[in-house]
Amino acid sequence: MELQTTIYLVVGASFAIYLIIAFLARAASTSEFYVAGGGVHPVTNGMATAADWMSAASFISMAGLLSSMGHGGAVFIMGWTGGYVLLAMLLAPYLRKFGKFTVPEFIGDRYYSQTARTVAVVCLLIICVVYIVGQMTGVGVTFARFLNVSSETGIYMGMAIVFAYAVFGGMKGITYTQVAQYIVLIIAYTIPAVFISFNLTGNPFPMLGLGSNLAGTDVSLLAKIDQVVTDLGFSQFTTTTAGSTLNMVFFTISLMIGTAGLPHVIIRFFTVPKVADARYSAGWTLVFIALLYTVAPAVGGMARLNLVGTFNTNVGITQSETGALTTNPAIISANADLFAPEASLLYEERPDWVKRWEKTGLLKFEDKNGDGRIQYYNGATKNPEFLAKAEAAGWKGNELTVNNDIIVLANPEIAQLPNWVIALVAAGAVAAALSTAAGLLLAISSAISHDLVKRVFKPDLSEKGELMAGRISMIAAIILAGYLGLNPPGFAAATVALAFGLAASSLFPAIMMGIFSKTITDKAAIAGMIAGMVATCFYVFAHHGIFFIRGTEYVELIGGPNSFFGLTPAAFGTVGAMVNFAVAFLVTKVTGGRVPQHVQDMVESVRVPRGAGSAIAH
C-alpha cells in the first residue's frame, strides 16, 4: 500500500481509538472531571502519566539532541527522570493525603492565604501556557510532515481532537486516552530502534546494542563513534560535556526539580485510590518513561554513526542489496582513511531518504569545494592539526547541515523499514504531543475554574456550575494554545526551558516547604515564590528578550552571556529555587509570624497516610 495512504489509515485509526475511549469515559461529576473519580490503578496511572509527561520533545527531539550532544545529553536523560524520585518521596503521597484537586489549592490552604493561592495560580498558568505552545507547534509540524497538510491545518486538527476527548471526558477521558497513546508511542519508538540495533550490532535490544561490537567485527560501536567523530573534528562522543561541570550539575538539578514542580504532572497523583498507591504509581511512571529514555541514547548514538557513515563511505556503514542497513567489517576494522577523496559520498549517489528530507529543508547541502561530493565534518573547530588535515584533503568547509529533529522521524526510512512502521512513527509523534497537550489543558482549566472562579470569585458556585466552568475554561485554553501555536513568540526551546525554570523556582520549593516545615508563614511563602520567579525570569529574559520579544535582550547589562558562574539560562532554575528557599526562610525569621494551629494540624495530618479519603472535596 502507498506510504501516504498507510499513514492516513494508521493515524486515523489511532484517533478513532482515542475518541471511542473518551466517549466511554464521559465525566459526570467534578470529581471525575478533575481526578478521574480517584480510582485509577497505579500501573494504569503510571502509563497515563508517562504519556502525559513525554511530549513531542521527548519523542522527536531528544534522540536528536543525544546524537549531537553525546555524553552532554545526560543532563536531559537524568534531569527528566531523576525528578520522579523527588515526586515519589517528597510530594506525591502527601498531596494525595491532602486529598483536594489542585496544586494552588494546597498552597492556598497550607499558607492560609488567598494571595498565596493566586500567586500559585499565576505561576501555574505561565508554566502551562508556555509549555503548551511547544506542544501545539509540535502537533502542527508532525501533522504537516506526515499528513501532507499545512502546519496551520495541523494545529486546527490537533485542537479539534483534543477538544473532543478532553472537554467531554475531563481527567477520566484524558487518563484512559493517555494509556492508549502510551502504547502507540512506545511501540512506535522502539520498533525502528530494535531493527537498527539488530542490523548494526546483531543485538535487538537497543540498550545492549549500544554497548556491543559492530556486527561481524570486534570493534565496539561506541569506540567507533568516538574515533570517527574525533577524526572529523567533532568533540569525542562519550566524553563531551554540556558546558562546565557546574553548568551540567545545575542544569540537571533544574530539570529534576522542575519536573517535580510541573503542575500537570503533580495532579496525576491525585487520581490513585490510596496514599501508598501514589508512591508506587510514581515508580511505575518512571518504568514506562524509562522504556523510552533508555532506548533514546541508542537511537541517538546509532543515528550519529549512520549519519556520518552515510556521507563518508570509509566509516563502514552501508546498505545491503536488499537496501537494509548493514556493516562492512573489512572497512571498519581497517580504520580506513576518512580524508580519502573517494570516501566522501557523491551527491548524485545520495540515498532516497536524503532526497526526501532535503525537500523539507531540514537537511541542506552546499558544495563548497565544487567536487560534487559531500564533506560532512566540523568546520567550526579551532583544532589546528585537524584544520591542516582538512585543508590538505581539499575540504573547504562543512557542506551538510542537518536539523537534529529529523533523527527520530527519519530513522525508519534510514533503516529501510516498511511503510507501516513509518506510519506508526507518525502516529506515535502525534500521540506524544496530544497526550501532553491534554494534560496541560486540564491543569490550566482546573486552576481557572476551581482555584480562581470557585475559590476566589464565586464561592457559592454549584458543582454543576463548576463542571461547566471547567469545560468552558478548557475550551478557552484550547483556543489560546492554538493561537499561540499559530503565532509562536519565537525560541520554542527557550520557552520550554523557562517553563522548567519557573516550576523549579516557584512551585517546587513552595510545596516542599509546605509539607516539610510547619514554620514557613504565608508572607514568607509568597515572598519566596515571587523572588524565585523574578530571579529566573530576569536571567532568562536577559538572554532571550523580555517576554521573548526580539530586540529587548539585555544580556550586556548583566555582564554578557552566561555571566553568572558560567550558567546557561536553562540551568538557572536551580539558582531561582535557592533564592525561593532563602527568601522564605529569611522572611519567616525576620517577620516572626506564627503559623495558625489549624494549619499546623493540617500539616501533621498530611504527613500520615491513615485517614486518606477518596479524592472528593472535604
Binding site: 545526560a74 537524568m78 524520585v85 569506540a223 566524553t239 550539575v249 496514599v275 524509562a290 497516610p609
Partner: protein, 86 residues
C-alpha cells in the same frame, strides 16, 4: 507511646529513609554521571565507558530501583507506627 510521640517518631523514621535514598540518588546522578564520569570512564561495561553508562543508562535504572525500595520501606514504616491505611 503517646499519640504525639508516635507521630514524631514516625516522622523521624521517614526523614531518615528519605535522606539515605537522596544520598544514593545524588551519588549516582551528579556523582557518577557528571562529576566523576571522566574517572569512571577508565572502566568499561561491555563497550560502554562507565561514566557515560551511568549518565545515559545506569542512573535511570537506579532511580527506578530507589522509588520501589522507598515505597516498600515506607510501607513497613507505616505499619510499624500504626499509621497505614486499611
Amino acid at each position: 507511646m503517646t499519640l504525639d510521640s508516635n507521630a514524631k517518631a514516625y516522622w523521624s523514621a521517614t526523614l531518615r529513609l528519605l535522606t539515605i535514598i537522596l544520598i544514593v540518588w545524588a551519588l549516582v546522578s551528579y556523582g557518577a554521571g557528571i562529576i566523576f564520569a571522566p574517572v569512571l570512564n577508565n572502566i568499561h561495561l561491555g563497550g560502554y565507558p562507565l561514566g557515560f553508562w551511568f549518565g545515559q543508562q545506569g542512573s535511570v535504572y537506579t532511580f527506578i530501583a530507589l522509588i520501589f525500595i522507598y515505597a516498600k520501606k515506607m510501607g513497613e514504616i507505616d505499619r510499624k507506627f500504626g499509621v497505614q491505611e486499611d
